[in-house]
Amino acid sequence: MMLETVREGLSWACLLSGGFFLVAGGIGMLRLPDFYTRMHPAGVIDTMGAGLILLGLMIQAGFSLVTVKLLLIALFLLFTSPTAVHALAKAARHGGLEPLLVNTEENDE
C-alpha cells in the first residue's frame, strides 16, 4: 500500500517535470535567436523531457516487458539524438551558416 503510493508519486513527479522540460525546450526553440543556439533547447527536449517522461512510464509499468521496451526507446533516443544533432550542426556549418556569436563583455554589462 505504502509502496504503491510512493510509486504513484514518483511516476507523477517524473511525468510532470518531464512535461515541464518539454515545454521549456519548445519555448527555447521559439525564443532563441539563431539556429545554433536553438539546438540546445532541442537537446533539452530529447534528453531531459523524453527521458523523464519515459522514466515516469517505466515506473508506472513496473517490472515487465513494457519496461524493457520503454528502456529500448530511451536508449534509441539517447544514441540517435546526438548523432542527428551533430550531423545537423555539421551540415549547417558546411552549408555556410555562420553561428551568431555574442561577446561576453557586451552581454554581461
Binding site: S11, W12, L15, L16, G18, G19, F20, L22, V23, G25, G26, I27, M29, L30, F35, R38, M39, A42, I45, D46, G49, A50, I53, L54, G56, L57, Q60, A61, V66, K69, L70, L72, I73, F76, L77, T80, S81, T83, A84, V85, A87, L88, K90, A91, A92, H94, G95, G96, L97
Partner: protein, 96 residues
C-alpha cells in the same frame, strides 16, 4: 496524470510546429522535424498508457528508429546535394 503529460506534449508540438513554419533556414525546419519525431514517439507511448494498452509501444519503437533514418537521409542530401555517394557540392542557402 497522463493527460497532463499529453497536454505538455501538445503544447511543445505547437511550439516546434511554429519553428518549422517560421524557418528561416532549412536547418531550423530540420531541427523542428527532428524534435517533432521525438515528441510523436512520446505521444504514442503516453497515449498507449492513457488507454491502458501499452502494446502501442511497438509503434513508438519503430518511430524512434525511422525518424532518425529520415533525418540522416535528409542531412546526407544537404551535405552532398544527392542521396548517392559522391563529391560534396555547395548547397545555396534558402533565400527568403
Amino acid at each position: 496524470m497522463f493527460s497532463a503529460a499529453i497536454i505538455a506534449i501538445f503544447i511543445t508540438m505547437a511550439l516546434t510546429l511554429a519553428r518549422a513554419l517560421l524557418g528561416p533556414t532549412v536547418y531550423d525546419r530540420l531541427l523542428a522535424v527532428n524534435s517533432f519525431g521525438t515528441l510523436t514517439v512520446l505521444l504514442i507511448a503516453v497515449h498507449g498508457f492513457l488507454m491502458g494498452r501499452p502494446a502501442f509501444l511497438d509503434i513508438a519503437l519503430v518511430y524512434a528508429l525511422i525518424s532518425f533514418i529520415g533525418t540522416i537521409a535528409v542531412l546526407k542530401f544537404f551535405e552532398y546535394g544527392d542521396l548517392g555517394p559522391g563529391e560534396r557540392v555547395s548547397f545555396d542557402e534558402e533565400q527568403e
